[in-house]
Amino acid sequence: MSLPILIADDDPDIRMLIAIAVRKSGHHVSFEAADGVEAVRGATAAVPALAILDISMPNMTGVQACTLMRADPRLVGMKIVLLSAAAHDRAVQAGLAAGADLYVTKPFSPRALALTITDLLDAP
């Protein structure tokens, strides 16, 4: 079953790459956002099964957006994947502490991301 997925990245090329990975995983993009504020608004409106958020975004970072989404009772059960170019431990720790299910570092393989999405959404 194809599930709705929210993707948020300020770089349109990366956004498109994520969208391709989503399609490859057999699901569909329900909302595309270019910053954290848009992402939170979109998630609240559409309630996706998964939100893939880039960390470095204008207006609101992915980590802040993640924290807000986790605080929203309407979004209970929604999975969150954080994407970031910063691979150091502190960034990973901060992301996971904010409530993300997974942390994926850039550059990522679309093929591997598709598999990750499948694993995450098909998990019991």
């Binding site: 770089d11 170019a85 150091h88 550059p107 679309p110």
Partner: protein, 575 residues
Amino acid sequence: MTILRSAIAERIAERIATLRTGRHSITERQLVTAGSFAVAGLLLVLPGVTIANYFQLWLSVALMAAVTAGALWLPWRTLPKNLHLTVWFIDIAAVGLLREATGGPSSQVNALIILPVLSLALERGRLPVIAGSVATCVIYLLPVLLNQHTDADAALLVRAVFTPFVLLLTGLTVNELTTRVRFRMRSEGQLRKAQEQLLSLADAHALELAARAEELKMSSELLASVMDSATEQAIIGTDLVGTIQLFNTGAEQMVGYRAADLIGTHFAPPLRETNPVAGRAPWEGHVFTSLIQVASQGLPDVRECFLVLPNGHELPSRIAATARHDDAGRLTGYMFVVIDMTQVYEVARLKDQFVSLISHELRTPLSSILGYIELIADDEDNPLSPEQSAYLTTVERNANRLLRLVGELLFTAQVESGGFSLDNQEVLLAPLLETAVESAMPVASTGGIDVLVGTLASARVLGDPLRLSQACDNLISNAIKFTKTGGSVTVSLDVCDGSALIRVRDTGVGIPADEVDKLASRFFRASTATKNAVPGVGLGLTITKAIATAHGGALEVASVEGDGTTFTLRLPLMG
């Protein structure tokens, strides 16, 4: 006139020398006696004076003339020491003869005898004057003994003995006085000489002292001006227990206290260490004791810390402590030089920020490039021709190379800013090394290089497996890069003295000896690397060393140019 004056001066000097040495002039004394003798002779021609014996008279005159001539012309200095005494005895004989010729006891020239006896009294010691008195007595008694004075009576005999006795007493008194005078003069001479020596010594010392004082003043002024001109550095000097003795202008400007208020107080700056070094006393204890811990052993010590200012602001600073010694090498105190590191830290922060920003901005497009390359390569609906596929592989390889470089830059920036942490866990090194060798195999075989695995001892360390893999990958890929076709790279793992030793030995181009120490510097590339066109930017070893250090280990290098290099990564084994 000048000649005369100098002759007089010489004469005076000679006289003084004679007096000082106690040797009275023979000539002078003889001339006095001879002169008196001549005067007496003249008196004899006066009417009423009877000459009893002309032979004795002329004999006495001849003796006096002869002895005076001898006193005047004989080289007494070269003759035996006491020979001149004969002059005075001959004088006694001549005077005795004259006395006898002019009436003996009733002679008018009786008093003349005193002169030769006094001359003898002026000699050193009492013996000459005693001998002279005895000789006088003999001379006086001789005519009696020879029965020339048939009318000799008791009074004559008494006079012949009494007169020499009085002469003896007078002579002895004169001798004693002369001895005393001579002694006093000698003592005074010695004293004067000693005084002169002391005065000249005092003069010399005074001059030297003045010169030293001047030097000291100049040196002190120079030192003070140097200290005060160092306005960017705080220079603080203390004694052994930490009492402030020196507080320069730079220190006043840096901390906002006046030297006058702090000199004489205890040096206990409010400090907070930024990067405490393991094994050193923490700052929380006695600050001065902590500061001198290394310096007191004679070693220079530099630490980075925050200096808490009176307004509460924390000033990033670097403090260097050194021991002060006196000329004898005794420890006399400590010197502390504090440098304000605000600007240095700000530059470092901006640099790190810049590197992070650039790295991030580079990773984002690289993510797109690599992602889309994968999509093209994976597109089953539109398969690529072999040629296209080869081109795309080249693009991908270079994109990955760029990505690695960005990663290295970012990691180096993290190391510099201290923002690099380890996810420590128990790590078995042998499998980690095997994986590293496996991943290096494709590149090695492409380059025709053998990668050999030596002994792999069982070693467990506490560390970050990702970082340790990165370090091993760096060492192996470096070894492969610097080895020419046909060469080999040997990887081994040994355990020695509580440490695991990962050795990567190559048969490559080697590193010149004078460049070995710079290898771990950022962006440093050995001349052999540039000469042989080995690709790289000079960050791999910086990162490997940083990883080794963060694990409490070390990176050691042994290299012979042209023969190869061995890198040893030393890591402490898990207890």
